[in-house]
Symmetry: D2
Subunit: 348 residues, 4 copies
């Protein structure tokens, strides 16, 4: 950490700051400048100290020079992490992972139909929500444990691992019983108790970035999970909240290469939430893969205009198939593969 | 709801949209325009339908014309709600409420000292964190149930109700046992399970706005609590996340009069988090009261440079006393009172 | 400036960085750490160098430790600047300045009526737009030089200095001829050629903050004006663009005390643009004054529903009078004055 | 336009609103609802009226249902516009356009070297700044007309059209004399006088999106240019300002497909400004092309660590060559071409 001291500080003020640093068991390295003096803090970094040092008289600013996360950092673990999510699917490997399915599991029949529909177009993980976070208490909130059961059965039938959102510690046993990947939603990115608890599990966890989550906060949230002993963490960029109102969220494509530079964890792109508009999903999916994403999460529904949630951003099976063909072409350009994509009838 | 249809829709397309509306049990009122046709949806509002209608072919946009919340709305309950938080303190009444104390409860002695310190300057509610949400898993996370016990004892000794944050359903019994007001923090504003659960309690709940929480989402989060039967809800504006990096958060003063116009619930301003800088707390506290806030939440610490968290934004007792005198002057200008503020020695 | 070097830098890499620093005529002070090495740059600050140093191999980050502006800084000029805008009005003094009038000057009669209307309620500067920046090329763009002439005449008749927006170097002579204060609008905050040109004038300039202008950029824009020799600069906070859609802009009340701490220049609050809703103007005006603003800019129109622009945020004369009485009460609480405010009939 | 009226409006209030609508020469179509009444406004759209209608008593909200721009709209001109920028380069055609060169033109030799360097790697337009917008008045601001002359000569020698920024009406003749494409920078997106003036020229104009420019505002700014008679408009997405501090700007990849859906104008991606970090330029360039961009604008410098501006985001020639090969692979996947890209020695 570097402490910048304002020009009016007296030698006594500087001594006081140095003493406070030394009190924390660290060394202080003082450079007195003509305008500002600078104190380098040497010793283990502790983000809590930034605030304490900023509270010292005459301190203008405190700059951290080390990253506050360790386990998720590429410095600590240079090779890419590959997360085995079951049924032979590896997240972070050369083959792209495509998690597809409906926003909400509506009925048993509905999720079986969706599983077959997305599998036929080349998806390799089945998604579906049983517990739904909804802005309004009066909106449909999912069918709960029944949904989990149907999801697991549909995944088993089609040979795909399944992913579903865990909203609360309350449901952790049920979700772990049925899901292959636990999803932590954007609104829970900093639900620290929930992060601790999934950190104690052995299951893969996919952590979505919060609507206003900074990259550093997102990586620290992943650090919470890893610090409890669970190394199977997948990150998911799903759009951030900005001033733009033309789309529900702004997909932050910069985040993909930056996170892959800072961390060894795999990163998935979610253009369905990242745009909120079905018409933008395909080009943004292609962009995510071009930028280095290890896979995609896509909302697909057999009948979007009757979907109980997120209809406006859901693709039909046919449109999803078109997207897969476009993504496969980009995948090849970036030396990734996407097998199992169906060639359209006309092209056979 | 109003559905705007694009110019290229055929009469059949319009029929299809009308049929979909009627299928939901609502009436459709079609106005065919030269450029765009417009379909008014008549019947009970359901926010989930917006998405389903947006998924219909040729629909350009869907506008909601009613507010999605009911119980929190001033239309529904025109008079101001006054929340009795115990020890004779009423939130939303003519007398301003000032919740003050340390970010974290550090030791028993520390919170007793703080309670006496803030009480002497005119605070009427004691705040202190026992469970702390921290960005880093390696930061100090509070002393837990011991802290709750010390907080309650310090409140009892000084005759003040106490407020503390509940981070998880896991701790609800402990927090309800010791706290007079349950605080839901900004990061949990959309932790819907937690909102449901505090909605089942009888205790007053103070709901902080999320870092990127829109006014409508914030009021819907309050609706979650009221929909479960708990009417004792207090809102707290604590700053939003913007592009500006000169302060930790941007205190959104517009929110105060707007929320008081839309809702009957009392609103507290938190300039400590709303600025993140001790030097800005007093003027922003004054602004909040001038704009109509029903009270303030302020971080106060006997020794900010040794605080275990949030030192940079904490006031000393003396500085807090100065703030209280400044706020009392503004309170008088807006026909509110702030009794118990100590006249400085020089002025006696 | 402080250069933080990543752990993998070799001694040769460090030498290369030190040599680059020395090449700029500055001294480099190297502290080799166990994790990261740090190079302090000693010598005159030049913001352009930050970018050049960031381009050096193995440089992780470059931190500036001095402020990039000088003339606008309170370090450089500790006393408050008071700007004399004519007709005895001083901006930045104990008496608050209230600039009021219509968004656009519509006709000669209209601006004379407005001048008398706002003067009667206690305004001391007349505002009115002759050249209007409008998002759409098809919207009303002002009546130009005729408007300037009417504005000046209305100011002369009522004994008030007048302020109007200058949009382009093209109109500088006309605006300088008629206006007492030149307004630089939010969209031109970083129109650097325009800033240079008004810097060469002797007239007071009011510089509005851009929709996404950071405090530092805003102060640097003021520095442009002062660097050309014009010290008569007034700043105006008019709301920033955020994710919130419930109001047109978010009035950034934090900016007022921070700018007054960093700079000696006076600061005006504009709650009309800062909210975009007539119903929020009064409470936000009160908040601005409570936070330390030196005055207000308010849109007032005799008939808002027929205004050619900004009707939704304009106050009628009567409503403006009510606002003035509320603001006067807050002014007294912060030891400012607002003379000339009319007591309502009922209260006489 | 649709006017939503609040429940407390009386029949007289409704009549008043209807009368005000009719006064504007439009028809009002009233639907009285149980909760809210709705008035459809039938007749030509005028964005200025939204504000006037919002000022009417009891009006809750006014929704526009038509787009405020015409000439730039795909409804008006369904086929893609292709802009001929000279030397056989067409922007918006199947062949991607890559505009590359230094941020600032430093010397004659420097821009000639850059022109040859980027041409060798496959660039087809030469960029270089002669007039530089800089946040600080003390930063290097370009070498002016000399720079324009060197730029034009370098373009002529290498057979490439040249693009440079026009900052002010003052320099319009000089810039038009030497440049093939006039660039309007992000800070001038809403410099409406400048837009009018370039609209009177015959030269192609590239309009960058403002830091906080909404899509609709950006298209309206393009409408300003087209409304004056200049149809040769190219749009450029260069990153927006968000809460994220890990990069200078957030490249908004969603904007590319959305703008291409709404408008017939070509769209260029600028990942240099869109990220601010050389290490992110290549993946974000690839993403832009995958999402449908018609080309790229890239900052390239022979020696970034000595660049007079934007060193941190500039690529060396070699790194630019690598980017071009990666982009060419993506281009092929989206059925675009990028000819002239050099195969690396090793691969020959």
């Amino acid at each position: 950490m570097i402490i910048v001291v304002s020009p009016e500080a007296t030698p006594d003020d500087l001594d006081h700051i140095v003493a406070r640093v030394e009190q924390t068991g660290r060394q202080a390295h003082l450079s007195v400048g003509t305008e500002r003096s600078i104190i380098g803090v040497i010793g283990p970094d502790d983000p809590s100290l930034q605030d304490a040092f900023e509270a010292l008289p005459h301190v203008e600013s405190v700059h951290r020079v080390t990253k506050p996360y360790k386990l998720v950092s590429r410095d600590f673990h240079p090779a890419n992490t590959i997360v085995d999510v079951g049924h032979g699917v590896l997240v972070g490997d050369r083959e792209l992972v495509v998690m597809a399915g409906p926003c909400s599991i509506e009925t048993e029949e509905h999720i079986f139909d969706a599983a077959r529909g997305v599998k036929a177009e080349g998806a390799n993980v089945l998604r579906g929500g049983a517990f739904k976070p909804r802005s309004s208490p009066y909106a449909f909130r999912g069918i709960g444990v029944d949904g989990l059961r149907h999801l697991a059965a549909a995944g088993a039938e089609t040979g795909m691992p399944v992913i579903t959102e865990l909203m609360s510690v309350r449901d952790i046993d049920a979700v772990c019983r049925y899901a292959d990947i636990i999803q932590i939603g954007a609104r829970n990115m900093q639900n620290f108790i929930l992060l601790d608890e999934v950190g104690k599990m052995k299951k893969p966890v996919m952590l979505k970035r919060a609507l206003s989550g900074q990259i550093e906060e997102w990586l620290l949230a992943a650090e919470y999970i890893m610090a409890q002993g669970n190394p199977h963490v997948i990150l998911c960029e799903r759009g951030i909240r900005t001033f733009e109102t033309a789309y529900r969220n702004t997909f932050d494509v910069n985040a993909i290469p930056l996170v892959k530079e800072l961390s060894h964890l795999p990163v998935i792109g979610d253009p369905s939430h990242g745009t909120g508009k079905a018409g933008l999903v395909t080009p943004v999916a292609m962009a995510a893969v071009a930028a280095g994403a290890d896979g995609l999460m896509i909302e697909v529904h057999n009948d979007p205009e009757h979907a109980l949630s997120d209809g406006a951003q859901s693709l039909t099976y046919e449109r999803f198939g078109g997207m897969m063909r476009s993504v496969a072409a980009v995948a090849a350009a970036v030396e990734r593969t996407l097998t199992g994509v169906r060639t359209p009838v006309a092209a056979r």
